[in-house]
Subunit: 339 residues, 2 copies
Amino acid sequence: MSGNNQLRQSVVLKRRPSGEPSPGDFEIVQDLIPEPKAGEVVTRTLWLSIDPYMRGRLREEQTYAVAIQIGEVMTGETVGEVIASADPRFAVGDVVVGSRGWQTHSVTPGDRLVKVPAGVPSSTYLGVLGMPGATAYAGVTEIIKPRKGQTIVISAASGAVGSVAGQLAKRAGARVVGVAGGAEKCLWVQDNLGFDDCVDHRSIDLAFELKTACPDGIDGYFENVGGAVQAAVFDQLNRHARVAMCGMVSQYNEDVFPPGPNLGFVVGKAVLIQGFIVSDRPARLTEWREMAAPWVADGSLIYREDIHEGLEQAPAALAGILGGQNFGKLLVRVGHDKG
Amino acid sequence: MSGNNQLRQSVVLKRRPSGEPSPGDFEIVQDLIPEPKAGEVVTRTLWLSIDPYMRGRLREEQTYAVAIQIGEVMTGETVGEVIASADPRFAVGDVVVGSRGWQTHSVTPGDRLVKVPAGVPSSTYLGVLGMPGATAYAGVTEIIKPRKGQTIVISAASGAVGSVAGQLAKRAGARVVGVAGGAEKCLWVQDNLGFDDCVDHRSIDLAFELKTACPDGIDGYFENVGGAVQAAVFDQLNRHARVAMCGMVSQYNEDVFPPGPNLGFVVGKAVLIQGFIVSDRPARLTEWREMAAPWVADGSLIYREDIHEGLEQAPAALAGILGGQNFGKLLVRVGHDKG
């Protein structure tokens, strides 16, 4: 069997952070790698996904998902290699997605696992072909519904979700304007992702820069950040604009959330604002993987990964993504592939 | 012909109000009743509708409709009796809706007019069977989509729109909770309209009263007022709640709009917020009239009118509706029916 006398490392929550999480809010604990019970699969973690939503799990109060308790292993989606299986559908050596936890080894009911097919890098199942990609797909196709000639703005445009959302809006024929932090990201968004323009949210006059990039106003907005970017975009929305509310990462570290925009404009402009969580739409993930895998293979869907090495880097990586320090899909490499 | 040497009175904008409009912001001017040109119809005004949206027309900056200019006749929908017609579809004596203006007589292209059928009071074509009724119908059926067992909250519940919106949500099987100003309105909303409960927005602890009335949270909200009511309702929305943004009358007199709620909850709860303007959906008005006229006739759709006598009362009536002083659909009787 798998883990006899072999140790597993797990990152657990030591105390609830106030403001930006720091490595000292977590600690690493060790135990024996468990044996799988009937129906379970034990995996050795290859990749751990770090995503902004994780900050919400560190809060005392519950949001749409259950809070992490002190002493509990941090949650996070992983890709792993099967090292022991009590589910006949999975064999040692299979690479699977669906296991969870900031840890070197996970035990997961087989029902929650999906095999990563050969031919795509397994890390893409956490990014462009994973939850972030499917999130972009759901938000763009179900909420924004971009049309030829419209102007669509994407915040956090170089991130795992934004980079896909903008490319999908481009495929629909829209003019696509990104918002990102810093010249390097903005250049990449324009030159590599093919957005029509990209505005640096650190500009002295963000509203002016946005207006210049969107001379005909804004018909659709993919919201990942909130705060000053949201305020500037909302002011420039056209009648019947459609807003996909995916995240508001600029405030995830705040203890008290700031007031938002006055919503009078929503009435007068007949604007749609729709929040969504991709886990409410599990079928979209499967659909997206089937649709987008060929685009990843032929290079027409661009993605970028920002890889940190070693499980112990996970807390710092989470702090970094909340501060916008990542450049592309943030991953922690926990173990190496045999290949 | 109609108006040879007869005078017409019109209320024009004298100066833009700051805060609550006052009668001194308007003045009455006189001119000769015009003759109709080809295709036009001249009507003698019977009823003038006073609606909160009119406050927006008094602002310098344009919202979704063109601002009223200084010296221009105030806009407003009227029911009138045809006194001269150069459109073969309309004859002297017909009672029609679709003419506009705070004035004793209007000239209107026949294409914009609809005859009020015999059998319903003509005033209902401005209220329960008019724009307010169709607004409630569109907001409830297209946006909130109430289902049996859900809890739906309606603000300005005793008003022209809210009273219909709540009755429609009741017909759909929902638990319906109104919010209104004062005990008299709240009692009427419960006893006459048949809402399950009604909360007085002047309560010392509105959030607590609302929570008591909505023990299972709020699944849908018909927004007419904004401000403190909006804040209390938004805090108690359930996951996947649906909000029809029809108006925010509590702030229409403000020179600078206050900040709104932080929109983080929209993401986490996957809430839909949809602004709408019924004039974007002209077909809904016709549909609504056909559907609801029998309900008005058989008494199963309850409505209430708050009637002011005389054109010169229109400015005070507008100030009153913005302060919530009306009780039911606010109308000015400008002329008397022959019948």
